[in-house]
């Protein structure tokens, strides 16, 4: 069971602050250490990190293969990792092609590769998205203004256990000769979740 993350943020935040204060009062948690851990955790968590991995994969076939085969082993090649939290989480990268499109969701709560992409967008945590995308992904993609053709098989990945997912979008046409930085700038957060093309 999980609640709607859309409306109760203030209540939840107040509850977390209360628990945090209790832990500090009891001497169980050092607030300075907590801030340090949070800062370190979020430092590289930004869609820009995911975009960098995508741009490298578009330019470097070897890196692309390694990223798809074992993302956790490949990410350190470009200074990234799924660590930073209490333990490193397994990342699985799923690749869009001409005939396959991938979309991410966590129907039970809001699992998301925070260590790599940063906090998730609020719609990703909404009950509307979580319940509808597994049932009618094309309808959800239409709402995002994205219309994959009938020849494209849609796969929805429901992160229901310990793995986290990221989409490797298709490289846009007309980008031959673009630099890694230029390519990374084209990659959006929605593209990394699979609700948009890049």
């Amino acid at each position: 069971m999980s609640g709607d993350h859309g409306g109760g943020d203030a209540v939840l935040a107040a509850r977390v602050r209360h628990v945090e204060a209790l832990l500090e009062d009891q001497g169980l948690v050092d607030p300075v250490e907590l801030d340090r851990a949070l800062t370190a955790f979020l430092a590289k968590g930004s869609p820009a990190s995911g975009a960098r991995a995508v741009a490298r994969a578009w330019l470097d076939e070897g890196f692309r293969t390694r990223l798809l085969h074992d993302a956790n082993a490949a990410l350190p090649e470009i200074g990234l990792s799924m660590g930073g939290g209490l333990q490193e989480q397994r990342l699985k990268v799923v690749e869009n092609t001409e005939t396959a499109h991938h979309v991410l969701v966590c129907t039970l709560c809001s699992c998301y590769p925070i260590a790599l992409l940063g906090p998730s967008p609020s719609w990703y945590k909404s009950e509307g998205y979580r319940s509808r995308v597994v049932r009618d992904p094309r309808g959800v993609l239409r709402d995002f203004g994205f219309y994959p053709g009938p020849e494209v098989e849609i796969t929805v990945w429901d992160a229901s256990a310990e793995s986290r997912y990221m989409v490797l979008p298709r490289r846009p046409a007309g980008t031959d000769g673009a630099s890694e930085t230029e390519l990374a700038a084209l990659v959006t957060r929605n593209g990394l979740i699979g609700v948009a093309a890049v």
Binding site: L108, T155, V156, D158, S160, A161
Partner: protein
């Protein structure tokens, strides 16, 4: 510990509706799918949520057709499921 199910194996998810936390979503219960791959071993979330000791067990990515889950549809849904949620599909 060897994985019970190999990639490509047909598996059926359990139907039971436990009174406690579980990571087998209701929409995927009693459904037949295909194992995509093993994701390594992890303590069962159902036990951890209740503070019970839990030996790690294999988690699998399992692919289901929309028609199997919902009665219609052409897309697929992949879920990450602990081994004890699954049985061999006959």
């Amino acid at each position: 510990m060897a994985d019970r199910f190999a990639t490509g194996a047909r598996v059926r998810t359990r139907r039971a509706d436990p009174p406690h936390h579980t990571r087998l979503p209701r929409y995927a219960r009693g459904a037949v799918g295909t194992v995509v791959e093993s994701e390594g071993s992890h303590p069962l979330a159902d036990d951890r949520a209740r503070g019970l000791p839990s030996a790690p067990q294999t988690v699998y990515a399992v692919r289901f057709g929309a028609a199997e889950l919902f009665g219609d549809g052409t897309h697929a849904v992949v879920l990450d499921l602990w081994e004890s949620y699954l049985e061999e599909a006959t």
